[in-house]
């Protein structure tokens, strides 16, 4: 019983978000129509306003409606516009979500940023993790101690000095600004090191016997063995950066070409008047959906990935 009550509270905002994204403004304001709304044809007021027939249109149209005076032609034209401008609320909301702002671009930015963050994190963290786990060298313990110390530092907390540094370098409002602070994942190093500790030494010695360099060992021997841990880390990293709002909010100001999905949604809210609840919720749905769907498809992996941070 308690669990069911909890379920209702947990799901309520999701339900509302999807439901509103399907309904017309009137239905939202009056709170009717159940989950799907009635999906009656609705008229987009902006579309009509933009295509108000002018004098010239009426003259041009009089040929098509013979035998009517100007008023009649205007009425006929208006009816035509309204027919053109009316659509189902779902179509209205989602098409507005994609046309009112370059949502595709934002989603693409989100993909670019999360992917580059993840790839750089791996390129940096994997060799370091291997060295810390399997190579004996002077100073290794000190480096590992430093890694443990850096685990304590939340990157969001040092956003201000990072921002100053990037501003000094003239890098704000670039992709670099979105990616650079996240290129080093201390957690990734730690995680992969713990994983590499479990890889048998024989495997590495055999590779050395074959004449592989240490760097080659990292990419050709260690990487394939680490796929499960890497997948978990990928989920962890992608979820965190797709959803991140704080950092993009700081370094991207104004340049809409660089907006990540949460920033795009925020912008939508900024200029939203009441009638835009539907499209806004459609945008929100579009942004939330990829991760939710991926999560539902590969639940077990996701939960593992997210809880990995708990296995310290």
């Amino acid at each position: 019983m308690v669990l069911i009550l909890g379920t209702i509270i947990v799901l309520a905002p999701f339900y509302m978000m999807v439901s509103y994204s399907l309904k017309s403004p009137g239905e939202i304001a009056r709170g009717e129509g159940g989950f799907f709304g009635r999906q009656e044809m609705m008229i987009d007021p902006r579309c009509v306003a933009l295509r108000q027939p002018g004098r010239s249109d009426i003259e041009a149209g009089s040929a098509r409606f013979p035998g009517q005076d100007d008023g009649g032609v205007q009425a006929a034209l208006l009816a035509e516009t309204e027919a053109d401008c009316s659509m189902r609320p779902v179509v209205f909301n989602y098409s507005k979500a994609f046309t009112e702002a370059p949502l595709i671009r934002y989603l693409l930015n989100g993909v670019i940023v999360t992917m580059s963050i993840f790839l750089i994190q791996i390129v940096v963290a994997l060799p370091a993790a291997y060295a810390l786990a399997k190579l004996k060298f002077w100073g290794r313990d000190a480096v590992f101690g430093l890694v443990l110390f850096c685990l304590l530092i939340p990157v969001h907390a040092i956003a201000l000095p990072l921002y100053i540094g990037l501003a000094k370098l003239g890098l704000t409002n670039t992709y670099a600004a979105l990616v650079v602070p996240w290129t080093i994942s201390v957690f990734g190093i730690f995680l992969m090191r713990q994983f590499f500790m479990t890889v048998p030494d024989d495997l590495i010695d055999a590779a050395r016997m074959d004449g592989m360099s240490e760097l080659a060992i990292v990419w050709r021997v260690m990487l394939p063995t680490a796929i499960p841990a890497l997948l978990a880390f990928a989920i962890f990293s992608v979820v965190a950066h797709w959803n991140d709002y704080f950092w993009p909010r700081i370094v991207v100001t104004g340049n809409r070409d660089l907006f990540t999905p949460p920033l795009g949604l925020r912008e939508f809210k900024g200029d939203g008047d009441g009638s835009f609840f539907g499209p806004m919720m459609a945008t929100a749905t579009v942004i939330v959906t990829p991760l939710i769907v991926a999560f539902l498809l590969a639940q077990r992996r996701f939960i593992e990935g997210i809880t990995l941070s708990g296995m310290k």
């Binding site: 669990l3 909890g6 379920t7 509270i9 947990v10 309520a12 905002p13 999701f14 940096v124 060799p127 370091a128 291997y130 060295a131 004996k136 060298f137 002077w138 290794r140 480096v143 430093l146 304590l152 530092i153 939340p154 969001h156 040092i158 956003a159 201000l160 000095p161 921002y163 650079v180 290129t183 080093i184 050395r208 016997m209 074959d210 004449g211 360099s213 240490e214 990292v218 797709w242 959803n243 709002y245 704080f246 909010r249 700081i250 949460p262 949604l265 925020r266 809210k269 929100a284 942004i287 939330v288 991760l291 639940q299 939960i303 997210i306 809880t307 941070s309 708990g310 296995m311 310290k312």
Partner: protein, 320 residues
Amino acid sequence: MAAVDPSVANIAKPNSGQARAGWGLVAPALTLMALILLVPIIVAGVLSFTNYSLGNPGFDWVGVQNYERLFTRSTYEKMFVATFTYVITVVPISVGLGLGAALLVHSLGRIGDIYKTIYFLPVMATLLAMAIAWEFMLHPTIGMVNRALEVACGTWFEALPFFTNGCAEGFPLWLGDRDYAIWVICFIGIWQGFGFNMVLFLAGLTSVHRELYHAAEMDGARSGWERFRLVTWPALGPTTVFVVTISCIRAFQVFDTIEAFWPQGGGPNKSAYVMMFAIFEKGIQQNLIGIGSAITMLFLLFVMFLTVIQRWLVERKVHY
């Protein structure tokens, strides 16, 4: 034959070769760690004693003036109140709910997996999007929450003081009301975070040995509560310490919801003016780097302090 030589050299002198390779592999990570994590802390530490602004050619040393302001101005008093209200509310409740949900879900077995999935959804969802969804839910006139509450008017619910007031004068504005604003933020924080804690506790629960329960039963622990107190709770010790710490650190970092609800000012009468928002507003929007850095340093201090406590607890108490 040429391929054999380096490997022979490697085996003959493993230390020098490995040392070079080791440092070579660690170097990029080490450089980035220093540049991105350590240098900024030092920079913030230095700047917190200045009145620096971006774009100014130089700055003056102002001593501890920034810190002094933090502890004397009423704005910052509100900041501390809001931050600690949030942390102190969200952490125990989300940890408690997480534990409760984990125990229930665990006892249900297979069916419990559905609840696990559902409760985990908020963790995956973009918080900003969900914050906006909540904003609509809590909309004073067209929001679902107040509509649902209005339904209760005219029934026996009206006997409760909250409903008597609400039905007579309208239900709260929630986000617009300074008495409710921070609690709404807390509620959303709990809503978003407890599923994460639940999953961590579930991972901890699966590692509790069944035999321990049998043993406890043999010893006369008949009720469920006794078994929980004697077996489950101690076994979850390390998990609990970790969950509490990570919840605290996450709670300190609350920002998205507040920025989404009140882009200017951090809530009605600054009732939800938390530290991250203060850093953002002072340091970045108003370009008062000195004061922003001082808040940053204080923030880091809190987080470090928490983690040190965690380490200490782990080392001291939780060896079984």
